[in-house]
Symmetry: C2
């Protein structure tokens, strides 16, 4: 530690101690405040004193600023234990503006999407883009880039590339280890990634839906300590008994609270936390964030003390986020002020003693990002201009069948031509990272488009350009347009842009505020629906998952249609 | 991490994963084993499989060695969360032999006593003397050396001397911060010691008997996270509510379980652990170690799952002892096999999968200690030969009054001469570290000695030579004898050694086995009693505390009799 910084920190520390001892006034005192004590899971009422951004004392205090907290309840700030910031389509700065009103003061982020586009530069971009924000953004380093061998991603992260990030104190470990077969099979790169996280005193997050019995033991024995993919109570209890922490997830697509609710009514709650994983802009605007899970859990009958602890101290302790997660001396003064547990109206939010939400979100500082990283993040499309001929084919191609309200797909045989009457549309995936010129072609059934084409650069997990069209000309125009605007979502008809959402940062995120993003996105969805996309389908999210080769049955890749059951490409 | 070590660790890891997955047999399988699951605090029954010293799986397994565990209960190894190894008078190697039969597999040690004698070399000695032992000895770095400004210790440890030890992975933090006034007053060296521990991701242990209210808030706000000095339940609950972990202590002198027992019957138990602090040889032999606390707590009605968790997972998590404290995949296979909770007979103990106790303690490896450190540890007495004249005085001296069965003392006025009829004996403290020639003189009342002199080099916390005598000739002989045998306890009559216990390592510990140490010590006590020391006094431990200037009222130092109330020396 730098000598001068040490000396300065000691001066600040001495002030905190003096304020705690009552020798000098605190900066802020919440008078007569009811608060949740997460150590005992009980309610207490006292003056809560803050000095230099730290809780210094609980008791009877005087402060420069005194706030009458009678009738209010103070909670420690909420922690989202696992999320992908990119899923919000927002910059981290804008994400912060969106979640502070919901009491989220710390998040544990996996920059998996941008890492698939920009590799370690993507992780560095996110680290810089989150530095000094009033939501404390911590990171787990993406473990599976690319997600599978079928992905033509922008990067391939090895153990010797993930390891140096542990020098950064905001990096808490290795992110969700999705390749559980790789772990159980003892893949060398995976085991080294895990080992180096543990050698650096860090955690390894899991992602193992349905894993049970001996393979689960193997996965845990390898060092994986959490899971956020439990859909059934029995599954969660087995994982918890074997030592895992269970992250109860309420995201836009995945809703696990209802099934896992019983955990919060037993001792098992001490091994639980909350996460959102993937939350879209409209979902944050309409339903909120971690507060939404807390409210639902309390409404379902869990004790507030238990629920608040799962949203604060549990993740802070597990992830070794020092001095967060409680209202107690020495802890960072992250505070959520609510009116009552019943209405759960968040009136104020403090981060390190600063009032950051009071009906309005306070000004959020602009993070400083290296110019070369900014330039690189805005220049991630490397593909030549495509033409309609690039999307033509001879003979027949496999047909991917959409399954209503699911992300799985079905195998619908082969087709020879686009036929909008039978809802047979052409789907393609254009490689866009390294100008390989690879374009995979196939057909898709069940999407409903009658005119034009729809394209998006959000295509899990490699984020190439996925396009569905009623004709090859519009497909080419859509792909070229996505590249032209440096990424995003576009809806094309007769060669013209009907609606679009530019995602100029790595093709995944935009600088625009959440309200604008949401309106633009909703308008684009409506435009797609007007061109024929069924109203029971999300026109873009559905496409984004059509490339995820770990989900059955057929998927589109840059090499064509892949059958996840036979683990092979279907050719004509 | 060294490349070759990494490669080897991956090979070992892959074997663990393969055994967990059932692809290869485990090394050991405990068949049909009932065990305490500390995550759920429930009992489970299953096969428990161990590979390469690590629990690989819980379920149904086959192993190279299979042990029928029907009817037995398996517990995770016990952790002593705070102790001073030196208090046992044993080498760490011999300490291990003494506590393995009691199921202790990990201890968190504060090498405070030897650090007062040898400074950082004392800490290095203990680190080396504990390397590779079948009890995992972790360290907190002594924070208060010397304990007070009145102590003429062998060393003065500053923040820049304590900090480098955090490079050692067995060092878990800064040891008990006894100088709580120093913390509350913002002492610069203390705050830097604390800051550097926290900067290195380590914990800071507390020691704050009776501290409450604002000073307690200040002490905790500074970063102190545990306390093992709670004598009353109310005190423990206040500390726990403010965020401290409570170490419930059962040592030779201090017995806190009875008062703190209610903690183990509530949710507060999650913030509790166990420690022995100071345990003498006869106490270990007669009553055991952490197992003694567990047995008593269960007998008093606490749930076994709760108690075992307090003895295992709670300290392992708090002190960041990775992969210890539970029977679960990936955890070190530290196992205590008992017959039942009622009789709690420990039949076997395993450390990292090795059987280390099975009625007999297995061979304990000899640690390798640098020759220079061994030489230094056996050469810590630096004082000239003393004569009877060194202990004579003119005029009057203060009289320290012993208080039966307490370590406090009373002020008994002044005296001019030794008077065995009135039980006025002479007491002296001879500096022995740096040959300063300082000898402090006074009188003591209530000790009972009628003939000869008693001296010991265990004199808290600076460990100079303390001597009580009926005449100055025997006092000189006793001090010279202690120096001659390189430290220890001696009983002298008419210039001759009547009984003695050499403590040749730093004047604090001996190489001899616990049985011999205990017999020799008990014989020496008996010899002291035969010379007149009251039977309701421990002849040596009582003297050892007469130099501790933080305990009221009068104390002997190398400068004379010190009054802890007026904080000044009493002079004639």
């Amino acid at each position: 530690m730098d000598e001068l910084k040490l000396a300065e920190s000691i001066i600040k520390e001495r002030e905190i101690i003096d304020a705690a001892a009552g020798k000098i006034p605190a900066d802020i005192v919440f008078r007569n405040a009811a608060f949740v004590n997460v150590f005992t899971q009980e309610m207490e009422t006292a003056d809560i004193a803050v000095k230099n951004g730290i809780f210094c004392g609980i008791g009877s205090y005087e402060g420069e600023k005194e706030i009458d907290a009678s009738g209010k309840i103070l909670l420690p700030g909420f922690v989202d234990a696992h999320l992908h910031l990119e899923s919000t389509l927002l910059t981290p700065q804008e994400f912060v503006r969106a979640v502070l009103p919901h009491g989220t003061t710390t998040v544990v982020a996996d920059p998996h999407e941008i890492a698939n586009v920009m590799g370690t530069d993507g992780i560095r971009y996110m680290l810089q883009a989150t530095e000094g924000l009033p939501v404390d953004v911590r990171f787990m380093i993406s473990s599976c880039v690319p997600a599978t061998m079928e992905d033509e991603a922008g990067a391939h992260l090895t153990w010797w590339e993930t390891t140096p990030f542990y020098k950064n104190r905001r990096v808490l470990g290795l992110a969700e280890m999705m390749d559980y077969y790789g772990v159980v099979d003892g893949d060398d790169d995976i085991l080294r990634k895990i080992r180096m996280a543990m050698e650096n005193g860090r955690n390894v997050d899991g992602h193992a839906p349905g894993l049970t019995g001996k393979p689960l033991n193997a996965y845990i024995a390898a060092g994986v300590s959490t899971d956020h993919e439990c859909y059934a109570l029995e599954e969660a209890i087995e994982k918890l008994r074997r030592g895992m922490f269970i992250l109860i997830r309420e995201g836009t697509a995945a809703h696990n609270l209802e099934a896992l609710m019983p955990l919060l009514k037993t001792r098992y709650a001490d091994r639980c936390m909350f996460c959102t994983d993937d939350k879209h802009p409209n979902d944050i605007l309409e339903r909120g964030h971690i507060d939404n899970i807390i409210k639902a859990a309390i409404a379902e009958g869990a004790r507030p003390g238990v629920v608040i602890k799962a949203a604060s101290l549990n993740p802070a302790r597990h992830y070794h986020i020092a001095h967060q997660g409680a209202i107690a001396p020495g802890y960072e003064a992250d505070i959520v002020v609510i009116d009552s547990f019943e209405s759960f109206h968040i009136e104020q939010v403090y981060k390190k003693g600063n009032l950051v939400f009071d009906g309005e979100v306070a000004s959020v500082p602009e993070p400083v990002i290296e110019p070369t990283l900014i330039a690189r993040s805005h220049d991630t499309f490397h593909l030549r201009t495509v033409t309609a001929d690039d999307f033509r084919h001879s003979g027949s191609l496999p047909v991917i069948g959409l399954v209503s309200r699911e992300i799985i797909s079905s195998n619908e045989g082969m087709a020879e031509t686009i036929d909008t009457d039978r809802d047979i549309l052409k789907i393609a995936m254009a490689e866009r990272h390294k100008n390989t010129g690879h374009i995979g072609l196939g057909f898709i059934k069940g999407y409903g488009l009658k005119f034009g084409a729809v394209a998006t650069s959000i295509a899990h997990d490699a984020h190439n350009i996925i396009v569905v069209g009623t004709n090859e000309e519009d497909m080419a125009a859509a792909v070229n347009r996505v590249a032209e605007i440096k990424g995003g979502i576009t809806v094309i008809d007769k060669g013209e842009v009907v609606a679009e959402l530019p995602l100029e940062i790595a093709g995944l995120m935009t600088e625009k505020p959440i309200g604008v993003v949401n309106e633009t996105l909703e308008a684009a969805k409506e435009a797609a629906h007007r061109l024929g996309v069924s109203y029971d389908i999300d026109p873009f999210m559905t496409l984004s998952f059509m490339s995820l080769t770990v989900i059955p049955t057929l998927r589109i890749t840059t090499h064509g249609v892949y059958d996840t059951e036979s683990q092979s490409y279907l050719t004509t």
